[in-house]
């Protein structure tokens, strides 16, 4: 059942020709707790190419977030390794921006100063990045709100601010851990379109963790399906939909068939959440 189904993608620029940016080799994670070792991630292998949009979908507690934290260098791997641009990840890499499920904005900073936070922490040039931050906020439709505080913004606007913050130092890679999980369905669709536009405009390599199958398919070049704890990769699907994708595509047979295929992995195991 866990046979890896790999199909050739029908994209204009043959993705296989693109450089491998993230290489995950035999990566596994076991949490040591008082009650013994809890395996969270079985050894997995995954290559992500430059500019690729990878969605990871799986049930709760399947180690999706663990995978993201490992790639972000926030927790050490128990076995295996991750290479970013050929360099082994041992600490948080510079070329990565992260978006969490909650916006985690600093309540005492204005929107603009929140976006500028990575610049301050990394001691980057303020003037050039300030212009960049303003530009990002403008594309996110937040220009009028740059001097507002996070609590004055709606949930969707807060998350857009968090995305701007992840992009401000122009990282090659953006890691997103269920970034729209806390948003209502309509805002979520809107944010999906927004994220696709950002991906198209910036050509970032994006690793998106989600528990929404439609979201994973709508956004991803490839969809990585993970099994329940301890997590491992059940299958990787190429998404044969052309870009830019529209919300209407969600109604097409191709989309429905793929969604059904992905869903089958969870129903076969008698669970989805």
């Amino acid at each position: 059942m866990a046979a890896n189904t790999l199909r050739v993608v029908s994209r204009d620029e043959a993705p296989d020709a693109r450089r491998r940016l993230i290489e995950i080799r035999g990566l596994g994670k076991t949490y040591r707790t008082r009650d013994g070792d809890v395996p969270s991630l079985k050894p997995i292998d995954l290559d992500i190419r430059e500019g690729e949009f990878i969605s990871v979908v799986g049930p709760s507690g399947c180690g999706k977030s663990t995978l993201l934290k490992l790639v972000a260098g926030l927790i050490p791997a128990t076995e295996g390794e991750i290479l970013i641009d050929g360099t082994r990840v041992t600490e948080p890499p510079d070329d990565v921006g992260i978006v969490f499920q909650s916006p985690v904005l600093l309540a005492w900073r204005t929107v603009l100063r929140n976006v500028m936070m990575p610049v301050e922490v990394r001691r980057l040039d303020r003037a050039t990045h300030l212009a960049r931050a303003r530009e990002l906020l403008a594309t996110a439709g937040l220009s009028d709100f740059e001097n507002k505080y996070p609590w004055q913004l709606s949930g969707g606007m807060q998350q857009r601010t968090a995305i701007c913050r992840a992009l401000v130092h122009d990282p090659k890679i953006v890691l997103m851990d269920e970034p729209f999980g806390a948003l209502d369905a309509m805002t979520r669709e809107h944010m999906n379109l927004e994220l696709q536009r950002i991906h198209f405009a910036t050509r970032k390599t994006i690793l998106l963790i989600t528990h929404s199958i439609p979201e994973a398919i709508f956004l991803g070049d490839r969809v990585v399906v993970m099994t329940d704890r301890p997590g491992s990769i059940a299958a990787i699907y190429d998404v044969p939909l052309p870009r830019p994708r529209t919300l209407e595509m969600m109604g097409t047979p191709v989309f429905a068939e793929l969604a059904q295929q992905v869903r089958a992995h969870f129903y076969a195991r008698g669970q989805i959440d």
């Binding site: 934290k69 600490e91 948080p92 600093l106 005492w108 936070m117 990394r122 609590w151 004055q152």
Partner: protein, 269 residues
């Protein structure tokens, strides 16, 4: 709106936030006066409000003079509480080791009644300001530490991960995330602390001082001068209220972003 009936404006006056507590106070004083008259309470048990007012007239200058050392002791004790309590909270929240060694001892020390050990400070530091300040500090520091630890510890794990993903140094994480995050909790602790510091100062004056409102309290009880004693109590309460209010104003200036300080709710799309 155009026709402002007199009844309406009276209603508005009594509903304004600054008038409400004063109105309640007036009602309480009237009740006090009525019950003293009605139940014929002898003045050596409870003096009538008018007698207390007279005490202010005759001894007001003395009370104000005595309020000065009490206020100094309170403010010094409170300042020490903040200066020592906040770094202590930082250390306890920052290190499991420090927490396991220090926190239980701190709680243990709080269970010792300060009134019982206050005479010791007189023995150690003599009459005067020092024992009062120490007593005020000992009462004031605990709430600052407890609130501070709570504040520093309540930083979400995602927030910590965010800082770590930017390779923030410990100092940067502290200055940019932990400290501002803990400020509302610290201020809550400081507010409790400042009122307790007044109590601490008076305890210090009870056992070892020849000046201050605590000393006046003891002397007037000894001489059955209950109006003076009540007047001194009111002075103490006023010191507490004013100091609390000052902390409140500083809080407004320091953490205007916090939920408790938000006045206008901004609606967004």
């Amino acid at each position: 709106m155009a026709s402002r009936r007199p009844g309406h404006s009276v209603h508005a006056f009594f509903n304004s936030p600054s008038v409400k507590p004063v109105a309640l106070l007036v009602v309480l004083v009237v009740l006090w006066d009525v019950s003293v008259r009605l139940f014929k309470v002898p003045p050596y048990l409870i003096p009538a409000p008018w007698d207390v007012l007279m005490a202010f007239r005759t001894e007001g200058v003395m009370l104000l003079q005595e309020a000065v050392p009490t206020t100094i002791a309170t403010v010094s004790g409170f300042a020490l509480s903040a200066l020592i309590g906040i770094p202590l909270a930082m250390m306890i929240a920052g290190s499991k080791t420090v927490e396991s060694y220090l926190y239980p001892l701190l709680v243990f020390s709080q269970s010792i009644p300060k009134v019982a050990i206050a005479p010791l400070f007189v023995v150690w530091f003599g009459f005067g300001m020092v024992p009062k300040v120490i007593s005020a500090f000992l009462l004031g520091v605990f709430p600052v530490v407890v609130a501070g630890v709570q504040g520093f510890k309540s930083v979400e794990s995602d927030m910590r991960d965010l800082a770590r993903s930017m390779k923030a140094s410990r100092l940067q994480t502290f200055a940019m995330v932990s400290l501002p995050h803990a400020m509302p909790a610290i201020f809550a602790g400081l507010k409790v602390s400042v009122t307790l510091a007044v109590v601490g100062a008076v305890v210090g004056e009870f056992v070892g001082a020849n000046s201050g409102l605590g000393f006046v309290l003891q002397r007037s009880i000894g001489n059955f001068e209950l109006p003076t004693m009540f007047a001194a109590l009111i002075m103490l309460a006023l010191i507490g209220v004013i100091l609390f209010w000052i902390v409140d104003v500083v809080e407004r200036l320091c953490v205007p972003w916090h939920a408790s300080q938000r006045q206008d709710v901004f609606a967004t799309a």
